[in-house]
């Protein structure tokens, strides 16, 4: 046994000296299309940069499993740990431990995390909301009314998008008037559809829907299809490309924006390697996949607007990725 131990530690030493950079990314859950796409991005970029990278996708979205996976990565002695958190608070102690071990820590969609080197986002709440508002505005010619959906009135992100979009329309399209308040129906396709039917019946001059929440654009699009209003009433909002592809091509769903998980995967690797190599991230630093960034050093946030438009041309390709 003693011999074996000596042997093992000898190998451990040589492996440590070889010093190939290693990056481990722990995501919310494995085996779903979103994170499969992220893994492709991670592997692609790792091959380009000549580093070793792996993605760990726990079998369920339980923060306890993310903590364990990160513990294992610390034990493995990787150079960079990336994480897409299920529950920010539960990860703080283990991420602190990782940083104390000299590991660089990156997060994506984890703006509240403290024990990280950087958190990066491919969409800002403001940019995301405004992009949808512009899309709607480009399609609606002349005055009219529009309605706003959110997933529920208590989803902070959806409401932040809605705030930005409404503010942009108020500033740039004074001829467009919002109908009622926000409708918290956009996580349910049937509620979205019936609400849209009711609104169109009650407001003959309704010209558009801004639908934040995965089922909102689909439900509103169906209502427009039923009424034969394609090309007269427009819908802008983020949705799953596979689910909405046909409706976009039929012209009843105008389009929307999303961010690309595969690109987020690439950024994990590019940014991780930059940190290990000692590159300072300051205003104007060019990070592949993010562009020239304006980091917020106090909040450790790098927020960019790298949006991907969902339209007739792009939707099939994205649907083929399983997104």
């Amino acid at each position: 046994m003693k011999k074996l131990l000596t042997f093992a530690s000898a190998i451990a030493l040589t492996a440590g000296l070889a010093g190939a950079q290693e990056i481990g990314v722990v995501v919310k859950i494995g085996g779903i299309p979103w994170f499969n796409a992220m893994e492709e991005g991670i592997q692609k970029r790792a091959a380009e940069l000549g580093v070793t990278a792996e993605m760990i996708g726990p079998v369920s979205a339980d923060p306890a499993l993310q903590v364990q996976a990160i513990e294992d990565l610390i034990a493995k002695g990787v150079d960079v740990i990336g994480v897409v958190p299920n529950d920010e608070a539960a990860l703080e102690p283990v991420l602190k431990k990782a940083r104390e071990a000299g590991i660089k820590v990156l997060s994506h969609e984890g703006p509240g995390l403290e024990n990280v080197d950087w958190n990066f986002e491919l969409a800002s709440a403001q940019g995301f909301g405004e992009a949808h508002a512009k899309l709607l505005s480009d399609n609606i010619k002349g005055p009219g009314k529009y309605a706003v959906y959110v997933g529920s009135l208590t989803v902070p992100l959806h409401n932040a998008w809605a705030d930005a979009a409404i503010a942009w329309l108020a500033a740039n399209r004074s001829d467009l008037v919002i109908v009622g308040d926000r409708y918290g129906v956009a996580e349910n396709v049937d509620d979205s559809r019936t609400t849209a039917l009711d609104l169109m019946a009650a407001n003959p001059d309704l010209k558009g829907f801004l639908a934040f929440g995965s089922q909102g654009p689909i439900g509103a699009g169906r209502a427009i299809e039923e009424r034969g209003m394609g090309g007269q009433v427009f819908v802008a909002g983020p949705f799953s490309p596979g689910q909405g592809a046909k409706m976009v091509k039929d012209g009843v769903l105008t389009g929307g924006f999303m961010w690309n998980p595969s690109q987020a995967g690439e950024v994990f690797v590019s940014l991780g390697k930059m940190l290990v190599d000692g590159t300072e991230i300051t205003a104007g630093t060019d990070i592949p996949g993010l562009g020239a960034v304006q980091p917020d050093a106090a909040a450790k946030d790098i927020i960019t607007d790298n949006l991907l438009e969902l339209n007739k041309d792009s939707v099939d390709g994205l649907a083929a990725m399983g997104l």
């Binding site: 494995g30 079998v59 306890a64 513990e71 294992d72 034990a75 002695g77 608070a89």
Partner: protein, 343 residues
């Protein structure tokens, strides 16, 4: 060689010895696959990870030996953790002193034991099946916890709490020490105490136990109350590990506790089984999980391997398999004899 196996078997007992061999084989395989496996970092990381599953498994153990089940282990732990967190917040969160920590610990233990005792009472006096009773309790506790927290996190605790989840004593992770102590107490309780004897009797034949004068109802209540108590300890550990509490933390571990228990040779119908092999199977599952992560295997593959593993263990344990091994060795013996005579 044969005598080595026989001696080992006699010393450790059949279950434990088999698992020790399995563990040795796995440790060897992983350390060949990755030199970091036996490194200090990985051993310590496993030492921090295994205790949570270990404590929850211990909480599941006594109910299973008594022929029952406790599906509520995770949520009992969560709710006890919430109680602890609530007490800490009343005393100023991060500024809470030692007194508040002590009070919170006691409150958490009481909540855990009470949740368990209620289950025990219903099982003993209503006669409902433990699976149904604990399922009801699990749903109740989850709902209650989600109602109280609105599904969110509670965090912000004093620094000193972190020692329990992240500290080391003489190089040994504190959670491991906690787990070792609880396991030892559990072993003594089950193998050396009157209560332990009653647990096994209730598990093998509850009616016979009752006719021979055992107070089976009191035993059942005690089993579930103690199980709840260990859940509370697990809940406190979880709070310290994650520096936050939320209903649902650790829910992926529920079925793994059952896996660890069957792997440890506990009779699914109750009445038989020991603590030591169950502890060993918790460690084996940790070795498997960390080892597969270390060599970079897919998480879903790891789950599949765990399943295969359980099936393999059952096959190896089956009487038919044991018989065929025996006849095989006898046959080998016969074949080798004449050859030996000639030389």
């Amino acid at each position: 060689m044969t005598s080595f196996f026989e001696k080992g078997r006699a010393f450790f007992g059949r279950e434990t010895f088999g698992l020790l061999l399995l563990m040795a084989a796995m440790v060897l395989a992983f350390s060949l696959a990755s030199p970091k496996f036996l490194g200090l970092a990985n051993l310590s990381s496993m030492g921090f990870q295994a205790p949570l599953l270990g404590l929850l498994t211990i909480a599941m153990l006594a109910p299973m030996i008594s022929g029952g089940f406790n599906l509520a282990v995770i949520y009992t732990a969560n709710l006890s953790g919430l109680t602890f967190a609530w007490v800490l917040l009343q005393f100023g969160g991060p500024e809470a002193g030692m007194g508040a920590i002590l009070l919170g610990t006691v409150a958490a233990l009481i909540v855990g034991a009470t949740a368990g005792a209620v289950m025990g009472l219903v099982i003993a006096y209503v006669g409902a099946h433990p699976i149904l009773v604990s399922l009801a309790m699990m749903i109740f506790l989850r709902g209650l916890g989600e109602f109280l927290t609105k599904g969110g996190d509670i965090s912000g605790f004093p620094e000193s709490i972190a020692v329990l989840g992240h500290g080391t004593l003489l190089g040994i992770p504190v959670p491991m020490i906690l787990f070792g102590l609880v396991a030892l107490v559990w072993h003594i309780l089950l193998r050396r105490s009157r209560h332990g004897f009653a647990v096994y009797m209730v598990g093998s034949n509850i009616r016979a136990a009752e006719y021979s004068g055992l107070n089976t109802k009191r035993t059942l209540v005690a089993i579930y109350a103690l199980s709840g108590l260990v859940c509370a300890i697990a809940g406190i550990l979880m709070l310290s590990r994650f520096n936050s509490v939320r209903v649902g933390h650790g829910e992926a571990l529920l079925l793994i506790t059952v896996l660890a228990i069957f792997l440890g040779g506990i009779d699914p119908f109750g009445g038989h089984g020991k603590v030591a092999p169950v502890i060993l199977s918790v460690l084996i599952l940790q070795v498997l999980s960390s080892g597969l992560n270390l060599i970079g295997a897919n998480q879903h593959l790891a789950t599949a391997v765990w399943g295969l593993f359980l099936v393999a263990v059952m096959i190896v344990r089956s009487e038919r398999f044991q018989e065929s091994v025996q006849s095989f060795t006898v046959a080998l013996h016969h074949m080798s004899k004449p050859a030996g005579g000639k030389s």
